[in-house]
Amino acid sequence: MLYYLRKIDWAVVLPSLALSAIGVFFIADAANYMGSPPPPFANRQLLWFFISFVFYIGAMVLGFKRLKRLAPSLFAVCCALLVAVLICGTSCKGAKRWIALGWFNLQPSEFIKLAFILFMPLLLSNGRAKKLKFVLLFFSVTASIVFLIAAEPDLGTSLLFVPLALTIALTAGVKRRIIVAIVLVVTIAAPLLFNHLRPYQKERILAFTNPEQYRLAESYQIRQAEVAIGSGGLFGKGYGNGTHNALNLLPARHTDFIFSLIAEEWGLVGGVLVLVLLFSLIFLGITTAIYANSEYGRLVALGVSALLFFQTVVSIAMNLGLAPVTGIPLPFLTYGGSSMILCWSSVASLSLVRLNDKPSLVEYCLRDC
């Protein structure tokens, strides 16, 4: 028993456990004010957590090498699922993002995130990063993923892959000129593509830039979240005493705006706690990327780090009024099975790199000097 306890990667598991627990805790709070009787969100989230933890253990058992071998097939399956969701996905508010499998909703755009991190480095490792054809392949695959997801439509998630891909590419050693070129292309293309956005997507961006004009549809959400967070103060209003009383109208408290709920009820202390926990995982990933032995391992570790980073930053920035509303989930905290499984699988990959890809002292010195 003690043997297995020592084998567990506590540096990764502890923050993840803490975050998952906080998530369940606050989802229960949000659900209590969402109907009579309250919807069973907290119980479900707990179930997702257990399932995700099983995934974690499973990945540990699988091992790093097998994971690397499985990466391409995993990616292919996820791509197939992405296409499938466009064809036979269930509509929710006019968006086809899920495939309903009985009582479980599968969201392929979540799983593709992990598949992306595990598979794409293969395209650029072992010196392929310097060869143009692989670089082009890398970015075209990325672009296809972006368009597949954007067609659902899920603009927020699709755009997530741009900085993710760029970070991986840059780390893998793709020539800086190419990276800069891609960035320029995206920056120029973005305003031009604005007109092709769906109305609600346009509204979200406009609501962000002119909050005074757009009050009914989108910007009031941000405004509510802002007031909720601000009025939390240093120590918060206490668990259960949140916005439900004062402002009555903060939607998606258990998903997009769960951070607002935490910051409101646990104050600055709570907000910083969540940030510290999340960033501890992110920085852990970065340090792993530095010392890991194989190039693939480094890229995967960095990929996990980047994935967690971009999701965290965008989601929390949105809560704080620094970014427009997107559907990007806050890792571990947002209600949702697919997201929870993704997060635990990602940190599982990280753990695998940490545990199995450690260089010996000699190797590390040789590399470093």
Partner: protein
Amino acid sequence: MNRSAIILFALVCAVAMCGLIARLIQMQVFKFEYYEDIAERKRLRLEILDAERGTIYDRNGVPLAYDRVTYDVAVLISEFDPTFEIAKTLERELKLKNVLSGLDAHLFSVLSRNHCLNSRIDCGIVHNPARLKTLKEKYPLKYGAFELIETPEGETRLFLLSEVLFQRLEVLANLSKTLNIEFEVLFKKTEEIRNRIMRTTNAYERRYEMNRPQVIVSGVSREDVFRLELDAERLVGVVVLERRKREYRGEAFAHILGYMRRLNEEEVEKARAEGRIVNRAYNPPEVFEKFCGDSFFVDDEVGAYGVEKYFEPSLRGKKGAQLLEHDITTRRYQILDRIEPSRGEDVYLTIDAGLQEAAYRALKERGIVGAVVLLHPTTGEILALVSHPSFDPNRIKDAEYYRSLLEAPYPLLERAAKSSYAPGSTMKIAASIAGLSEGTITSNTYFECHGYHKNPNAFRCWVYPSAHGPQNIEEALKHSCNVFFFQLADMIDAEKLVGWFKRLGIGEPPPLEIGATQGILPTPEWKRKRYENTVARLNDLKLKIKGQDADDSLKEKIDSLEKITAIYREESAWVPGDSRNLAVGQGAILVSPLQVARMFAVVANGGSLVNTHIVLGNSKESENLNINPSVLETIKNGLRRAVFETGGTANKSGLARFGAYAKTGTAEVNKKTGSNNGWIAGFAPGDSPKVVFVVLVEQTTKHGGEVAAPVAAEILEKLFTNKKTADENVVLSTKD
């Protein structure tokens, strides 16, 4: 492998993390008071705005069904009664328990005058007086009931001031004076509401109920509402609700317009599952995101019958929404945003209100149970569709009234289009068209009427034991001679005869937006099928009890079915008697007044079967039946002579004044009681018809010419000689 990239990324992460923490600090430390102010003061509410339902007009723009607005006075407990909030604050700040019951006990003693209104309640020692002091200074209205007193021992005790705590007593006193209702009545109502809310266990439900307007007085007049609005500042927590009530012009239109009903449980559940149930004032955030105008209140009404039902989607309109920010301290509302409700579409009927009411009155004054149809001969527009007795749709929600409607003479039965009757001699028109068009007879063919045909007990003329003597078809129509048509029926092929009836719209439902019956047209095939169906049913039953011991009721059923089958076997083939009955509109044939009107329109307009409709603009192309004009001429002559010449069955009716050509009908219904259906059907003025009319009198012992024709005459008088109607009457100046 790019090391520096990783370092760059790490830097970006660090900067981002610091940035987010900095923003948190900015919001939660530096701007804390700003946000706390908003959180304390502002309440947001999403109100759903009801849409006005479309009005149903007659062809001239007379409103027949419309919304009328009534007012209710309601309270929002969350604003009206601050004790809930104060209790919560105290529990939070002072860690007290059971504050609410303590406050209520104090209210009770205030009301029973044990304590006076400006007494104080001692709540205990405050450990954090500074915070409460700040709250009290910043939100004097909200925390006005608090009073912090320093005792000589150096403690700070919190007192609550009754008169601020129980401000609602003053509000109720105000309401009582303005609305002239006793204070006790209002107080009891609000206490009932309050107790119900306090007993709710689920936090969400409690919050919902506290923010939902609870009606305390309904049916308030507009003047009272104005007076309440003048006093709005002092009437904390009082809201005036607009309620819409549907009103109808009268009984005469009831069957056409229909009425409204509440949604039933199934419909509510289905809408709830689709997220389309909304509340008037307080809605959960999810409603807000997905709001669509096509949603329902739980107590919404939809059309249940008639035009209200069939045109529900266009009449209903779309709801709107309003996001209100309410400032607790200044008690002012600010509308942050508003989606206008869109009014339902109006429906214009082809009905002429004046004619409809005149026809209805004509039946009512004579105590006639029956129907009237007025039809435009070329466009198919229905100018009047009257069924008497009718009901008052404004009272249909009254349970007792509704129960009374279920008894004889069955006012809920629509007799003009949805019921069918034995048509009697009106069907001679169809037989005439058939006989002349098929060449069986010509206008010069003469038959002799001896008063009966073949069997004096079975096929008699109505003048029996008298006789009409020799007649051609015009004279037979003028006298409504049965024997002539019996002889015609014997000569014409049954399928051809039945075919013409079908072509003239008998046995098929005439087009009508609110639904119409098809009646029964007996044909050889119909008879054969009837027999075959009973045989099938009999065999089914026999199979069921095969081998088993059948119980008595089943055996009885089989017995009676066997008897019926035997009868039908005898009658499964078409016999000459069937054709004869058909030609004079007796036997199994059943026709609605609307179908009769449609048939007479064929004669009036020169041979087209019109598309009958009741909503303006719904006209479609008529079907040309390709009838030889000379055939129609002959028939018209017969109808003319019936009205104008002595001896004609419609001669003494008063119809001649309007130049009408008509056919009477007297259909035997019950030989024993001598009860008949009395008909008159025709068009006027005969030479260039502007209207087709049909009057049906259910259950009369008299002839159609005696009972129904005078009614028609009275209606035509209203149509033609009334100067106002004549000028405005679009019948005389058709649009197309």
